[in-house]
Symmetry: C2
Subunit: 416 residues, 2 copies
Amino acid sequence: MALIVHKYGGTSMGSTERIRNVARRVAKWHDAGHQIVVVPSAMSGETNRLLGLAKEITGTPAPRELDMLASTGEQASVALLAIALQAIGKDAVSYTGWQVPVITDNAYTKARIQSIDDAKVRKDLEAGRIVIITGFQGIDGDGNITTLGRGGSDTSAVAVAAALKAAECLIYTDVDGVYTTDPRVVSDARRLKTVTFEEMLEMASLGSKVLQIRSVEFAGNYRVPTRVLSSLTDPLMSLEEEASSGTLISFEEDTHMEQATITGIAFSRDEAKITVMGVPDKPGIAYQILGPVADANVEVDMIIQNQSVEGKTDFTFTVPRGDYEKALNLINDSVKNKLGAGNVIGDAKVSKVSVVGVGMRSHVGIASQMFRTLSEESINIQMISTSEIKISVLIDEKYMELAVRALHKAFGLEQG
Amino acid sequence: MALIVHKYGGTSMGSTERIRNVARRVAKWHDAGHQIVVVPSAMSGETNRLLGLAKEITGTPAPRELDMLASTGEQASVALLAIALQAIGKDAVSYTGWQVPVITDNAYTKARIQSIDDAKVRKDLEAGRIVIITGFQGIDGDGNITTLGRGGSDTSAVAVAAALKAAECLIYTDVDGVYTTDPRVVSDARRLKTVTFEEMLEMASLGSKVLQIRSVEFAGNYRVPTRVLSSLTDPLMSLEEEASSGTLISFEEDTHMEQATITGIAFSRDEAKITVMGVPDKPGIAYQILGPVADANVEVDMIIQNQSVEGKTDFTFTVPRGDYEKALNLINDSVKNKLGAGNVIGDAKVSKVSVVGVGMRSHVGIASQMFRTLSEESINIQMISTSEIKISVLIDEKYMELAVRALHKAFGLEQG
């Protein structure tokens, strides 16, 4: 018998028929003798409907009231799931974030969890009850309702699992796990049985958006074994099979060392790069260029400053493609002349491809194998950025899929 | 400057455009220097939508979970109204029942308010804020969400007004006040400027369903001046005009004494009567007949037992027409033989007409004027029931409208 936390996304909760399926699946786990806590999202579309009403009234609703509004979606969900469990003979009880309570800071619409009181939940679990807790929300020190931001229910589930020291946190979603790369790009992409938290962070931030990134950080910090698995399977499939399906995000690196050095190929199609040429090479240049960009809420990813020649250097950075025009205008209008820089050039048709793997730490030659593979396909590398467990390159977007396929093959990722 | 509570029904909150109108109206009162607390209902249709989801899952959802579910409708409403007020430059804050808190007993789906903590609300009002509180709901001693049942937002508003000792509680609704009788029946029915709580109770329970009856009881018990007025007027109409519109439900009988003895004619079309003939006249008969009817959740209204003749009597009672067959079968199947009674006869085509007025207490002759008027129209009276401030008669339903019109005229109700 173990204490297990289940999390179901909005699609899984999208209709009363689907909620009944969630109830059947949860009941199966409970029947097997486990203590179960469930964290469901709002029914799909509900959060958008609610925020849409606010937007009909004003473009700038107060964050406190948005949280008051949006949190109702998850509250309705927990009640409906409790009703569905009771309808099949299970003793179940639902709680909102404030009832547990889940204490957060007061950063409305993007609050962070500070603590979770487990007393009430433990008492229910010991009495044999299935406990259902609203995702996405909590309460601040002054009794105001807060929400954790989009996808926050993943974080709620992992945080609840951490507070209860759960054996595992199962995130049921509409994909069946984390893959070596996007199966839509590489048909023989392989589902990973395990990834480490660090790899998952790199995979998530690079576009494999299976889990909200904050939930992965949370799982890593509190060492919560977290499994991503499909909610589209038969809810009555064998529990043994279900328990080992999907991808386990693990904090045990050792199990990984024996395996391949590279875990997956991540990519981000919609990048853009901007180069400021002939920048005087003196202290504070990076800040003077990127400060105004950050102030405009544009996220900068890769940054390169070349070796200077005769006191001048070229400075290049990448931004999401949607922010390209905005960033380019900013540099042209308010940075270029102030710095006495030369031309500003840009390219909005670039993509980023990364190889990710904790094995990289103890193996040399990953970078050279990556560069050789791209070279064999005559793909020019425009920028390079590295971290402990990944190497990213920026390339012309028209070669992106070719690069991903070639790298997937070169690192033998199609083999288990 | 006064402290005023506004209550808006689901129709008034039915769309974001209507919510904006509510905000304009509330802002107008606040601009005039008043302290304003608003209790809005859920957007029209929302409570039914939520309960419909529960019903799709099971016919017998647990009341605790129904309250968890249904209470989200009002929570969304308060947030949207706060957003609408802020959008026009007003400082406003929304609270759920548990945030105030509004403490109730734990009778889920039909909880009763036990106390309201006014500290937080007063602090906001003193800071110049408009306070918006969810109707319909509270929290029990164990921190569970409770609801007050259908129409409970009226009761919430009056209870909040009582707790804050508000100068007046304004119930904005889709009728413009309480009338001497239904204007659809009598075209020159007149809007009453004031009624007493007792009269309002009789008018409400007899079919003039303007206000939830519990809210009227609450207003009476706590002596909260409560005004029913239209939410369909121009939100920017003059405040003086609006403040004296509608009907004031008052606890000052004196103002009334000078006026007409009769306040209004109430009626209930869909009644049915059942007579058990030849019942042995001995103690316990009424209980033996009506006990099984009450156990079947059928509400009994008028009850008459005739003078017995040779140890036998006839026993007649009325029930809502929808419960007629059920009650008739019950009497025939399980009461008649046990009592050794004679025939059981019934009539499902009867209506009840009542004259209501506190003035009746100090004036004789109301009953005789009522009976004479009906007699002049050749309307046969089948049953009579009286209370301190009303006289009700049961008549053939085909004469109901004629009776209401004749009585309205006979008591001069068309004159102010």
